[in-house]
Each structure stands twice: as structure tokens, then as C-alpha cells.
Subunit: 496 residues, 2 copies
């Protein structure tokens, strides 16, 4: 039923139509895994007739107003996502930055078919009460194998939002234990009574300090720290917690060095002021290494080092939210490695999810564990099946040296985009993410039109903030895919 | 290395030592699935040497202070959970009521090994943006096939806590849309601005009304409604939301009819008073059909019908939390079916998780969807892999008629416990759950000792509230298992 007449295949990068920007094309390079098309395949407009039928059916039972593409995962491979009309798009959005090593990855398929995985799926334990005898081994060979430097412990969770909230809970309990006079000091009768009425002193009058334009999730505690867009927050009750301005850097960085340093210092001053004066004292500060939903806002390593020093000075725990930045995309396994903090100066907690397929928070000290069992607890406390999948991801990332791959390919991608920005300065503004692997973004005034046109050119790409186009390719992006992407974006730019 | 000298196998129920209570034993009946031992197998004390070794190892990297049993899921089958020392316990706690049809269930193992499951595991979609072409089909043949009467829609989630919080968010948005004057009325500039500061009018000044001794989860919004124990809530900031007293029924019910009716009416009066007077008006009320963590507190169907009428009268949405009661254990697929509500009088939302292995909330009307996309949204919005598993569970429950099984076996179990209570009235107080399938509990003043001794007799059993022993067997419990359980509890009682 697909209209063959409109069929069109963009296989690789036909040399005449490519934007080469002075760099040799590398289309001959092979993908890391087999099964990908040589380039985007566009057989119908999107959504095509089959997709339209399926979307109509799905709309009757599920939320589809935010639907971007009705996918066919039986036909999606590597960097390419397919729909049921036979279209295959280069996917540099990757399920909101959550697919690490490609669709239908053979190593993950193998891990998913093991007896160990099947057992994990069908015998889901309450990990706090009845962990499996091999849970320590699964943690050590997976989640903990890639623990950030200085953070040897982990508490597992299901997704980014609850990972952040569990970290907040750990921070509140830690701070109150300090205030109470130590780990072994018992709760007062007044605390035990008032907490059942949601009143202080049992319910603490403390806060989490976050940054404007940050995103930390959408549950009630995490949403109180999220400051991305009104649509995420409207009508939901929120805690009266403080927010500091995140530095708003100007680009190119080298032309605005003094101005940017001033913006970073102003932000630090505001953080310190809020810590000292906010009526609900912050037990912790949470920050993304790169504000990812809020528009890809960066700050310098020295800013983050100063932030670490400030939080230490004021006994405020520092939580780094690596839900979107973690697992290799920035050219380090964890983005905060770019800051160059010494091990004894590591953040107190680092949260993760998305590309990890599982979630949780790493933490530094046993003292961040609450003083009693069942204080940090829930039925599942994570998911061994997803932990096994992360282990297989970690193994592939190491085997194929994919973090180094993002360094190299990210550098190439950045150069290509810089050249495009030179040709179309209005459409590619504030290019950012240099030296941050493939974690690259730019602003485009006609952003939503830009994204829609990219899809017509066979590229699935996402936005963030109000005007940013964000690139969130998988770790298996190669130079050949960059060429396809740049070629398509060139066409988009010419058409706009 | 296991000390063979202490080995002891309790196979089935040796007639001389059984408490028969006038009922014929049915030990000859076969389990629904193969692989179970004939009765508990106790080879070492628990934890034995192997378990002790593993627990020590796990303690270095994970929370083990709440550990009850270091399980070996390779050796656990059906109703029996094993450890690494070769012990096999009859499990009537079932991972805090979350294993529906037994360990290493062959039907689930089959579902877990399908190409469909492998694809779902390794290509995890952002369901709001890139759902799979077969997601509607997966929903219709699984989660929606068992939708409660009158609630044809679903929003999927990952666990009970976030299912409840998503339901709360839907309630807040719904109520504010009403107050704003309808679905199509836009947000004001003041709302859009204030919400970014976590202030009203953008952040609503509304509440969720819950009951004392309730449990609805441990994230910040859900924990504000949870009123089970101080240890769950201490030090965590909470919203100033209202709580009503849950009826505290006295047992046996038939001897306290007037008194209990009065308690229920007092509770209803308090609910109405709070709705009318609380300074943050409730957008919704949430209630468990049986308060499960709070001590297995029941109320009558007429109480719940009156509660439904009250919430309707005052335009407060009614959310029924079936996270623990749902999926068959009470002798209905959903426990609120016991209330006899007509379809057009169904609760507004019903939340689920645990035995479903996935989670979410069912809802009545499309008007409970927010008026804009991306208001109720997150990256994963559920998990197709777990939805496939629930579908396989639903199929097995239907094929083996397991809800009727819990009716019959629950009746038998209740009778046996009633007889035990007749013999040991001090140890089996306030027996409750008659006619509620196997969802049965009793109070025991030496509860924690009772639970520890049960383990020595080969029974894994849990508590709730301060003095309750709660039975949460799987749906595949048969009379033969009841005999094993009763025999063991008889020994426990004699020893105490």
C-alpha cells in the first residue's frame, strides 16, 4: 500500500550533493554493527499510510499527542530507526538520549536471551529483603565497574526521576542526622509524632537548591527542582525550594571570555547567597554537567570546581545529575570527569539512568546511608534485569572503545557543524559542546520548522529549551553518519 | 560445606503432626506447576554458611540491613523460595506481594524468551514520542484486557509510587482546568511566571486527602500521603496535606456490627469535614481497598460506596490504590470489585503495580487527560518488556482460573486459621480477610518472634503495621500448601 511512486532512497552521501566543508568524506567506513541501511530510506511522507493507521488505533488507548514517529523496532538497526511504512531515519535523538549502542544490538540481544536474564525477568526480587545470591556480582561487574571516581557505593532505582528523589532523601536524612548530633542519636517523641502529620520537626524544613533552566524529573520532589518550562510544572503543588541562575554563556566562548567568567561568578555568588539566606536551608544542591532539557547550557570546569568548593564550605551536599550526560556521550564516561576534581573532592552523589537502562545514585561515604534500615527502601529498589543489560552495555563500550569514539567523532561533527554555521550563521547560532564528545547543540530561531524539515531529509533529531537543536546520537555514531547528517542539515538550511 | 547433620526435610504434612481442624487434608493435590518440593526443606539454619558468605560480600556494596533471605532464584520454584544453602521455604510473602504465579514459572519463562520480549528489552522506547507499532496491541491484549469496569484508559508507569504520583498529577491538572473554566482555557501570564518559582497560582495550592495508616509509596508526593510509620517519613519534607482516620474495625465483625458501623460513619464524617475545611482543598482522595502496609485494615463495601458518593458530591476525584490488593489475591481481579459499584459510579482512577510487574493508573474519562501534550510525560512512560510479562500473567490467570482458586483456597485457609485461633487465641487475634481470597491477616502480640519462628519451620512470611502477620501468598497457592502452612504455624504457636 506504500506509494511507490514517491519512494526515494538516500544511500550514503552522494558526492555532488554533499557538504564536505574541506574535510574528506569517510562514507566507506563501516558501522560498528551490521544491519543498518547505507543512509536514510524515505519511502513515504511521515507518517505514511501504515503509521497513520497504527497511530489512530493507538490514540484510542494511549497518549499520542506527543508522538513523533510510530516506530517499527523489528526493522530498526544501529543508528537507524524505522517506521511501518519502510522509512528508515538516522536517529540522532535516540529515544531522548537513552539508546547507547544502537537498535537491535546483537550483544544486547545475546544478553537478553540468556537464562540469567530470563530468571531476572520472571523472578523479580524485593532487593532490600530477598536479593539474589549473585546480586553483588552483577553490581560489581556492571553498575559498580563504571562507578565514578570516589563514589564506590550505589543505591539502585528505576528511572532518572526516582534516582534523583532517592538522592534527595539521602541528603535530607544525612543533614538531619548531623543536626541531631550524629548517626546514633535517636528520634525524639516530638519528631515521631509530628512526622505523621507531615509537620516539623519530624518532616524537615530543608530544601534542595537547583538551577534555573534545569531538568531533574517530574515527580513531586524532582519537579520542585526542575525549572525547565512551565508546561512541565503547571498546576502541580511544589516545595518552596530555591533556584540560582545558571551561567548563560555567550558564544563563541573565546570571544566572550571575560563576560562569561563574570556570569559564572555571579551565579556562584547567587548560590552562596541562597545557601546562607533561604528560609528552608538547602541540604543539597543538584546540578547537571550540561543542562540538557533546558537548552544545552554549559558552564566551565572552573565553575563546577568552584561550586564543589562552595558546597563543601557550607556543608551542602553536591548531587550531580548525570541522567542525560552520563554513559559516554560527552567524551568521558561521566561528564563531570571533565571538571578535573580530585578523588577526595568528588561530588557527594551522582545520579544516572537513560543510556544505563537502569538507574540509581552513586555515593561517596557510608555516612550517606541513613542510620536505620527501611528508611531508604521500596519494594523493588531497582531491577536486576536492567542491571544485566547495563552490564552488557558497559562491556560493549569497553570492547569497542566507544567513549574514545565519541571524542573523535564528536570532534569531527563539531568541525562540520562549525563550517555549516559559517555558511548559515542565522540557522546555526551559538554552536556549543566543543570537546564534549557528540553532546553538541546550536540555536535555530525557526527551531521547530528545522526539526520537521530534518525528518523530511531522513534525520530524527530533537530540540531542547526554546530554540536549541540538540544532538544526542548513540555512542556508535561514526564519521560516515556525520556525513549523512551534515548533508541533510545542509539541505534543511538551504530550504529554510 | 552445609552441615548435613542438621539436615531435615519437611515433606508435605505428616499426618500425626498435622493440625487438621476437622477438615480433610488435601496433600495429594498437585501444584499448578512442576518443580516444587513436597514441603519445606531445611538443611541449615538460616542464614546458613553459604548465605552468610554471600551476605557479607553484598554488604560491602549494597544495603543489606533489611535483608531477610539471600535467595537463590535458580533453585526457587512455584510457591517455594530457595537459598544457597539448599533450604527451600514455602513463600507466603512473595516479594512483598509481588510474585503472582510462582518462581521460575514456565509460561513466563516462555514469554521472556520470545523475540518480542528481547526486542522490547533492547530497544526501550520513549513511549510518548516513539511508541512501537504494536504498543496498542500489547496494551489491548494485556494491561487493558483486565482494566477495571468503567476505566477503559491507562497511563503506564514503572512502579507503585510513580503510578500514584502520576495519578495525583492528573488530578491536580484536572481540578485546575475546571477552576480555570474548562479544557480550552489557556494559562495566564501570572501562572506561567509564578510556576517557575514554585509559587501559586502556577503551582496549585491543592492537596491529596489520604487516610491514617495508609501506604501509597515513598517518593515526595506519594510519601506525603503515606501515613504508615514514622520510619518511612522521618526527615523528608512533606506537603501539608490532610488525613482522615481509617475505620478501625473490631473483630469478629459479627460481634461488633454496631460499633464498626459507627466507626465507619465517623470516618466518613471526618472525610467530609476535611474536604470542606482543609486550607489546601483536596483535588483527590486516595484509598486502599485494604490498608496493606498499615496493618491489613479493612472496611466494609458500604463504607467504600459511601466514600464514592461523598467524593462525587464534593467534586473530589477518587483514586483507588490497588498496588498491593490488585491482580487476584482478594478473590476478585481488583479488590474494589467487592464494593459492588455500578459502572457509571466507578472510581475515577485505579493504580496498580507489584503482581502486574508493570505499573500505571487506569482512568475513566478522557477529561482526566491534561489539556496539552507534554504535561503528563516522561522519557520511558512505562516499559513494554514488563507489559509483555503482565500479558503472560493475565493469560495464565485466565487459563488456570486463578482468581477462583484464591476464592476457594482462601476460604479453606481462613477456616484453618479460624481453628488455630480457637486453639491459640492469644497468638491469632483479630483474624481478618474472610471472603477476601488469600488476603488474610491476624495480629500477634509477639509478632516479630512469630515471623522468625515461622522461618525456622520453613515458612517465609511477612508482617505489616505493628502487630499484624499478613499472608500474601501467590495466586497458585493450593490446599496442599495451606496444610503445610497451618502445620508449621501450629508448631510456631506451640513453641511460643
Amino acid at each position: 500500500m506504500a506509494p511507490r511512486a514517491t519512494a526515494r532512497a538516500v544511500t550514503g552521501c552522494p558526492s555532488r550533493r554533499c557538504f564536505t566543508a574541506g574535510m574528506p568524506l569517510r562514507a566507506a567506513q563501516k558501522p560498528f554493527y551490521e544491519g543498518e541501511p547505507g543512509g536514510p530510506v524515505l519511502k513515504t511522507k511521515i507518517p505514511g499510510p501504515q503509521s497513520t493507521k497504527h497511530i489512530k488505533e493507538l490514540s484510542e488507548v494511549f497518549e499520542t499527542r506527543s508522538l513523533s514517529l510510530l516506530a517499527d523496532y523489528t526493522q530498526s538497526f544501529g543508528n537507524y530507526i524505522a517506521d511501518t511504512d519502510g522509512n528508515q531515519l538516522l536517529d540522532v535523538y535516540a529515544q531522548i538520549a537513552s539508546i547507547p549502542i544502537g537498535y537491535n544490538n546483537p550483544a544486547l540481544a545475546k544478553a537478553a536471551a540468556t537464562p540469567e536474564m530470563i530468571r531476572a525477568l520472571i523472578n523479580r526480587p524485593a532487593l532490600g529483603n530477598f536479593p539474589s545470591h549473585d546480586w553483588a556480582e552483577i553490581l560489581k561487574t556492571g553498575i559498580l565497574k563504571v562507578a565514578p571516581k570516589g563514589l564506590p557505593h550505589v543505591f539502585t532505582a528505576l528511572a532518572g526521576s526516582d534516582a534523583n528523589e532517592l538522592a534527595y532523601k539521602a541528603a535530607f536524612m544525612h543533614r538531619r542526622q548531623q543536626e541531631r548530633g550524629g548517626y546514633d542519636v535517636d528520634f525524639t517523641a516530638q519528631e515521631l509524632e509530628s512526622v505523621m502529620n507531615n509537620q516539623s520537626p519530624g518532616s524537615s524544613q530543608l530544601s534542595i537548591l537547583s538551577f534555573k533552566t534545569s531538568f531533574h524529573g517530574r515527580l513531586f520532589g524532582s519537579l520542585s527542582t526542575t525549572r525547565s518550562k512551565p508546561i512541565h510544572k503547571l498546576d502541580i503543588p511544589a516545595f518552596d525550594w530555591p533556584q540560582a541562575t545558571f551561567p548563560q554563556l555567550r558564544y563563541p566562548l573565546e570571544q566572550h571570555a571575560a563576560e562569561n567568567a563574570k556570569a559564572e561568578q555571579a551565579s556562584l555568588d547567587e548560590v552562596e547567597h541562597l545557601i546562607k539566606t533561604w528560609h528552608l536551608p538547602p541540604a543539597a544542591l543538584i546540578v547537571e554537567p550540561i543542562q540538557s532539557e533546558g537548552g544545552d547550557n554549559h558552564a566551565s570546569p572552573s565553575f563546577f570546581r568552584a561550586l564543589r568548593a562552595l558546597t563543601k564550605k557550607h556543608n551542602v551536599l553536591m548531587i550531580v545529575d548525570e541522567v542525560q550526560t552520563g554513559v559516554g556521550a560527552t567524551g568521558k564516561f561521566w561528564a563531570h570527569e571533565h571538571w578535573g576534581l580530585e578523588e577526595d573532592n568528588a561530588p557527594d552523589m551522582v545520579t544516572f539512568s537513560k543510556k544505563a537502562q537502569t538507574a540509581g545514585y552513586y555515593y561517596r561515604h557510608a555516612s550517606l546511608q541513613p542510620n536505620r534500615p527501611y528508611r531508604q527502601f521500596n519494594t523493588w529498589m531497582g531491577d536486576p534485569a536492567r542491571a544485566l543489560l547495563f552490564r552488557a552495555i558497559v562491556d560493549e563500550v569497553a570492547r569497542l572503545d566507544l567513549v574514545q569514539n565519541t571524542v573523535r567523532v564528536g570532534g569531527y561533527l563539531y568541525e562540520q557543524l562549525e563550517s555549516l554555521a559559517g555558511r548559515y550563521p542565522d540557522l546555526f547560532q551559538n554552536l556549543r559542546g566543543k570537546g564534549q564528545g557528540t553532546f553538541i547543540a546550536f540555536d535555530s530561531p525557526k527551531r521547530d520548522e528545522f526539526l520537521a524539515r530534518a525528518k523530511v531529509e531522513g534525520i530524527n533529531i530533537g530540540g531542547s529549551g526554546t530554540t536549541a537543536v540538540r544532538l544526542r546520537p548513540m555512542l556508535i555514531l561514526r564519521e560516515m553518519h556525520v556525513d549523512v547528517l551534515i548533508n541533510a542539515l545542509d539541505k534543511v538550511a538551504r530550504a529554510l
